[in-house]
Amino acid sequence: MKHEALLWLLILVPAATGALALLLRSVRTILGAMCAGVGISVALGWYVAGKVLMSGPVSAGAEWLYLDALSAYNLGVMLLIYGLSSAYASVYFRVELREGHLTLKQARLFASLWCGALAAMTLVFISNNLGIMWVGIEATTLLTGFLICVHVTGESLEAMWKYILICSVGVAFAFMGTLLVGASAHGLGLRAPEVLLWTRLQAHAGSLNPACLKAAFIFLLVGYGTKAGLAPMHNWLPDAHSQAPAPVSAIFSGFMLNTALYCVMRYVPIVEAGTGNTGWGLRLLTGFGLISILVAAAFILFQHDLKRLLAYHSVEHIGIITLGVGLGGLGTFAALFHTLNHSLCKTLAFFAAGRLGQMFGTHDMRKLAGVMRVAPVWGMGLFGSLLALIGVAPFALFMSELQMLKAAVDKGAILALVLFLFGAGVVFVGALGHAIPLAWGKAASTVQPARAGTLETLLVVVPLVFLLVLGLWMPGPLQTALNAAADVIRHVSPALAGSPGGIMP
């Protein structure tokens, strides 16, 4: 009973904060309220997620809300990113306010949409009904659309238009897929409110119509893949990431993409069981993952805009995660671990890019140079996160990518292994070529060196230390959590192992 109420609160708190932000009268109070609201959500969410990871799934509202290891883990990571980003947003927008770029109206709009998007993403994670999950994803698209053009310019409008249109169309395809999944359950005798419940479909996965399920999965993969930024449906992504304010870019890259990918992961066990565990769906995932890695690698080589560069890194890493899920086995574990690492790292990179952009007045890497001298703290953050992103050794991303290679070798997927290594190698060389002048090049003399405050320093140091520590040592609880979450995707939950797709008692 207590957990049920908590699940509802998880949506209500950010939604109420968003509404409240529309009523407040000063920018500082708005930002403060936003941080407080997000903080409460983080505390609540972590508490619930911790409970779930330790003692199994909880559900509420006649099974419409449901939290298991997979969603709890993702929810936890999402809240971590949201918490960091909210703290950063208050720093970032205070600077904007000081320089007179932010009006009260814009601040209200930003804060309410920011909290609204949090509520929508939380809805995605805690909903058991696949239809409601879709509603949540589409809601994030629409709410975050305006976040891109908090500052209305030609470029930001263009980015927003592409984002809204491409993602809405993509997500519409995902809805088609959801309907087809519902259709595949036809004849199982499920009652109307149960047809789209994930737990029910999972329990009956073996007796779903396989052909219908295959068609559904293609629609779902293309649909949610568009929102997740998988190539070749990634076109909106660099535009939106480069034009949005830095905190928004951080959320986009840090967890909105993963939210869409999470939806795909939800369907993987159903599709695998429904198509007779032939690995059909996994092969599709592997293919999309590899394409994304290679496409992103090609674009990273010739990029001049820092935020666009980071956006293509997102395409690459989303590809890597997809590849991991596609490989299965250890790969699934590595993919989930990579989700955490990438989100943390990419968030830091966008934080740094945003602050440096404010100092230099540009994101063009030909003009952004010598950041280490101009702003040591943020410069270190940017350089460190870029190194981590390309997979330099002691960082956690290296570890998760290494595990993925091992998974590929275990599975004998040599082609995937070679392509992955090739893509990662190209990214390594390309991004390093950008990173070194960025850090130690000769800075233009007009740029004033800026000192970072305590909060800013913390925002840089904490994620970097986190990434380093995770790269060297994995805490036991995290490993347990990752294994539990991966088991949901690999579908070997002990509760269901006894009745493989059989009749529910």
């Binding site: 239809g131 409601i132 409008l157 519409a172 088609m176 519902g182 219908c212």
Partner: protein, 211 residues
Amino acid sequence: MTDLILVLVVLTNLKLLGSSRLGASIRVVAAQGVMLGLLPVLAHVHELSLHFAALAVGTVALKGVVFPWLLFRALREAEVTREVEPYVAYITSILIGLAALAASFWLGGRLPVSTVEPSSLLVPSALFSILAGLFLIVARKRAVNQVLGFLVLENGIYTFGVGIVAETPFLVELGVLLDAFVAVFVMGIAVYHINREFDHIEVDRLDRLKG
């Protein structure tokens, strides 16, 4: 009766493909929305429940009244009435549409979906709406036309939903409708802003972001 509605939906799609007037196109999409709103009521005329009635009223009100109103407002603010030089000419569009129609019927026959509703036209016409909507989004320059394409796509998926999952929970349908409403609302505002910023709503000139 459902057959008649579905054939009319197909014809309205073809009309949209061949029409250059934005105002007329908006009305056609509105008419399509109203027809589709009535579809579930007609399909389940023997077991008419509050659920279907409420859904029909909601759909008709939204797709037949609210969307056209929003779009006409956007059109008035942008002061345009017709599409200029689309990427694909109208006659070619119609021919492509016919090819897409044939493809949808072929595909609809092969898709392993057991339709709840006895009309065998349902899945093909839904697929055709989806293809026509996609084509409109890709082949037209005016932002309003792209929104219309999105709506046609949405209508296609709606048709599909009516046919194959008759028992979609009410809450889900409500959420989907709400999302569609917000999407059109957001796009309407975007059209307004784009028009103010660029002095036009031609999407092909939104080309500053590349690479």
